[in-house]
Amino acid sequence: MVQKMVALIKGKKIRMRVKFCEFSRCGLLRTVSLSSALLLAACATQAPPEGYSPDPEADPKAVISPGKNTSPAVLDLLERARVASRAGENQKAEAYLERAIRIEPRNPALWHYMAKVHLYGGRLQKAQGLAAKSNSLAGKNVRLRSDNWRIIAHAKQGLGDKNGARAAQDKANALAASMGGQ
């Protein structure tokens, strides 16, 4: 009985991830940015999500850095969130990020990381809201805005809003293109 349930839950998870993969493969993601690459990696290996690191140098895959003025307290929490997330303790990672957001509520990168954690956790509605919030604080950070739109595209796709997903992806691509040869 229990085994059956576990299998069922696992099956669900796998199906959800496959959806992301199909979506990624279907050509909507023309620019393969880190976040989507990570998602693909998550599909294939079921590895815990990565992508936020207090020090971009330490993790070559990280694109979005938490900003120059990020306080040591927040960096400390981000590091803890990263470790927790690596260990598969997503609830803890979430809690650390929330503490970080309480300290720097106007730091758009923190909202972005939070959106990612929820996206990986399959809480698409929340991920979408958090990515939009990050965008509203992102100002001129085009890379961050592009990545946020990509999260929104994934979430909308998962929620069955194909047109919305395409529109969001177009925005992400347009922003990415505006960055030029970066």
Binding site: S71, P72, A73, L75, D76, L77, R80, A84, Q91, K92, E94, A95, Y96, E98, R99, I101, R102, I103, P105, R106, P108, W111, M114, Q125, K126, Q128, G129, L130, A132, K133, N135, S136, L137, A138, G139, K140
Partner: protein
């Protein structure tokens, strides 16, 4: 002869045999009887054993849910002033000490605090006890170091304040404490005074009984008891006042049984939580945890030696030694207890002498509830009830970590009390003026403080959650938002008609709303109609947009029930609670993102496993650009509109946004407003709905601005959004104002909609004295 002898012998032996048989039979019966008795006795003992174990386990595991405030996080730049930090330490019961050695002690010199933290096992990580130095500067934390090595600590989390428990519905409350949470003298004093052989005996102390008997015989009355702590615990479990040998025997047996099953510390802990220590009406005060609240309004861990000994002295007879009625008796008894402690070597002579000198310091009126924050606890209870069965809440020993900020609560309570008392006197309301306030964090909608009335310590009518009152002009931002969402039709300078309007309902009734100053103002820019709260222009606008569209927006903003779309809704005839208003304004404050107001962060099971996290929930309800545009107009309310008087208590008021609300006959006075980090909603009125003679500006606004000033709320920021442009607008014409124009409004526009045309500056024109007075009067009245 021989025969006779033989016969005799035979007769004799027969008699002996008969007797033997008789004896044997008797012995047999006796044995059987004894066996039956033994079996019965054994059964009885087993029965007692089961009874006492059920009782003990039941008491031990009937743990209430423990509710904690948010833990204070300290880091360089944390917005905590040294006064607030001092307040936090007081609330947490940290003790001022010359040398910082023990956990929970601190020393202070100027802007520097040295302290030994208590350490706490949070579910997301253990926060070990540390000895640290913290410096404060300009209202924030300047540095956090470890005291010995001087290394910087990036992030330090204090232990969270315990704010109350959620208990079963009985006339009996508990504040359960763990043995290691009690003051160190408490167990020692109890053992010394009540049962000095506690750690040696097996439940019953025969020597003590003999000693007590001898003392009683000599005195000719009961002067001394020989009961052990274990026997007293059993007695307290069954609370019967009959003095009989049978009961005494039962108690003794059960005491021995308890000792067989549980170790000494478990028994002592149960005793500390069980013993009867006072009475208030129907409510029995059991346990030292509750008694400490009841007599000193402090948590048990906060008590010093004389206070701890006072409670120990009470054990012998809480009624006889009632400190509120017989303080001298109690002082004598306390002296005796201190002498015994000295004699047993528990305390030094100096400690004993000092403690004897100390006053009782018992508070005259016991607090009514077991929490100092019944208003907020009420909210916690409701949110839990939504998600848990009542049974689980009261029996599982949950640990609930809330969003409650005791420092913000303190400030909000002080501001509310101060101004309600002042306004009540000024309006001659004879104590009828009531109010409620709620403060939230704009990020994520965490409720930081909730003041349910002017006497916030009293549990009772929760005005923030339950006082549903007409909201007046607080509704207007929802109407103007509906307009601004139609960006092709409206922006902040669209001219609106403020001429009189009459609306006919389906039943043929006519409704002619009027402006507060009974005047019409011709055509006015949209933002002026909002900031000066013109009713005629608003009703015209609302009717054009459609009342049902406004209702739809209210729902999107976070109102979670249906309201009827009558035209009178446009002037706030609909009733809402301050909590519901906070939910709606939260969405404005968060730049268009809706988060359900929440009081709880995490719920943990008794073993520390997280059962539920209430994670940050953010959904876009309004386009962030439109929200910024609206917020810039709401900021004008405090700069040039109905809320200008806020500046008296909040010097930076012009950088905050909000709205006044006033209802017919001045029955309700509202203000809802926010900066970048804090939102507060204040309501004032009377419970019986009588007029209180206050507008939003003359009543609630004062409390709002005082609260925001006290909590050091940060000003609104409008700049992050790329699609927004900010410019100065002349309020008379709605055209761009020249630089340096004082009366100009600083408004936000969605990119590309900025008015091009330049106009004059209204404040440059000479105003006649009557005009100026009229303007001042109008502002003051709203």
């Amino acid at each position: 002869m021989a025969r006779r002898v033989t016969r005799k012998r035979r007769r004799g032996s027969r008699r002996v045999a008969k007797k033997r048989t008789h004896n044997r039979r008797w012995w047999h019966h006796w044995k059987r009887g004894l066996a039956i008795c033994l079996v019965l006795l054994l059964a009885y003992v087993i029965y007692l054993d089961v009874l006492i174990r059920i009782k003990f386990e039941g008491k031990r595991w009937a743990l209430p849910a423990h509710v904690y405030a948010r833990p204070l996080e300290l880091y360089r730049g944390a917005p905590v002033s040294r006064t607030e930090f001092q307040l936090e330490l007081d609330k947490l019961g940290y003790r001022l000490a010359y040398q910082v050695k023990e956990s929970g002690s601190y020393a202070r010199s100027g802007a520097r605090f040295d302290l030994r933290t208590r350490g706490f096992g949070f579910w997301d990580g253990n926060e070990p006890a540390k000895t640290v130095s913290i410096w404060f500067k300009d209202g924030e934390v300047a540095q956090v170091h470890t005291k010995d090595t001087g290394n910087e600590i990036h992030l330090l989390r204090l232990d969270p304040m315990f704010i109350g428990g959620i208990y079963p519905d009985k006339h009996e409350d508990r504040l359960l404490v763990k043995l290691d949470e009690t003051p160190e003298w408490l167990p020692k004093a109890l053992v010394a005074v009540e049962d000095r052989n506690f750690y040696q005996h097996h439940g019953v102390d025969l020597k003590a009984i003999a000693r007590a008997l001898w003392a009683n015989v000599r005195a000719g009355a009961t002067v001394q008891g020989g009961s052990t702590l274990t026997q007293q615990l059993v007695k307290n479990f069954f609370l019967s006042n009959t003095r009989s040998l049978w009961r005494k025997a039962n108690e003794a047996v059960m005491a021995v049984l308890l000792e067989l099953h549980y170790d000494k510390n478990e028994i002592l802990e149960a005793y500390i939580n069980e013993v009867y220590l006072g009475q208030q009406g129907k409510r029995a005060v059991h346990g030292f945890g509750l008694a400490s609240r009841f007599y000193f309004d402090k948590s048990l861990a906060q008590l010093d030696l004389p206070q701890t000994v006072t409670l120990v002295a009470l054990v012998r007879g809480p009624t006889f030694y009632d400190p509120r009625r017989h303080p001298t008796r109690l002082r004598e008894r306390r002296e005796l207890v201190l002498d015994i402690m000295l004699e047993q070597g528990v305390i030094s002579t100096a400690q004993a002498n000092k403690a004897k000198q100390a006053n009782l310091r018992v508070i005259p009126n016991p607090p009514l509830g077991i929490t100092p924050y019944p208003g907020f606890m009420d909210l916690v209870r409701r949110q839990l009830r939504r998600d848990y069965r009542k049974q689980d809440l009261t029996s599982e020993g949950l640990r609930i970590f809330t969003t409650f900020d005791p420092v913000v609560q303190h400030h909000a309570e002080q501001a509310l009390k101060k101004h309600i008392n002042r306004l009540d006197r000024a309006r001659k309301l004879a104590g009828h003026l009531e109010g409620g306030a709620i403060v939230t964090a704009t990020t994520g909608g965490e409720v930081l403080a909730l003041v349910a009335g002017r006497r916030p310590q009293f549990a009772g009518f929760n005005r923030v959650l339950d006082a549903r009152r007409p909201v007046g002009s607080l509704i207007k931002p929802a109407i103007y938002l509906t307009a601004l969402q139609r960006a092709d039709q409206f922006n902040l300078v669209t001219m609106l008609d403020d001429s009189p309007i009459t609306i006919q309902s389906d039943s043929g009734e006519e409704w002619t709303p009027a402006n507060y100053d009974k005047e019409s103002h011709g055509t006015v820019p949209l933002f002026v109609a909002l900031t000066r709260s013109y009713n005629q222009a608003t009703v015209r606008l609302g009717m054009e947009l459609g009342v049902d569209k406004v209702v739809e927006n209210l729902r999107a903003l976070g109102l979670d029930r249906q309201v009827a779309p009558y035209p009178s809704l446009l002037l706030g005839a609909t009733s809402m609670t301050p909590y519901e208003i906070a939910q709606i304004y939260q969405t404005f404050a968060a730049g268009g993102f809706r988060s359900p107001l929440s009081a709880i962060r995490e719920v943990l099971a008794a073993n520390g496993e997280p059962l539920q996290r209430y994670s940050l929930d953010v959904a876009q309800a309004v386009d962030p650009v439109t929200a910024q545009v609206l917020n810039s107009a709401l900021r004008e309310v405090l700069r040039h509109g109905t809320g200008t008087s806020a500046v008296r208590l909040l010097p930076a008021a012009g950088d905050f946004a909000g709205k006044t609300g006033t209802t017919n006959d001045l029955r309700d006075s509202w203000f809802a407003g926010f900066g970048s980090d804090r939102l507060a909603v204040v309501w004032l009125g009377s419970d019986d709905n009588r007029p209180v003679g206050l507008t939003g500006a003359s009543g609630a606004l004062a409390i709002w601005s005082d609260t925001m000033q006290r909590v050091n709320a940060q000003p609104l920021e409008l700049t992050a959004e790329l699609e927004v442009e900010v410019t100065k607008i002349d309020p008379e014409t709605g055209l761009r104002a020249p630089a340096g124009c004082v009366s100009a409004a600083e408004l936000a526009f969605s990119k590309g909609t900025l008015p091009r045309e330049k106009g004059g500056c209204a404040s440059d024109q000479e105003e006649s004295l009557p005009e100026r007075t009229g303007r001042w009067f109008r502002k003051w009245l709203h």
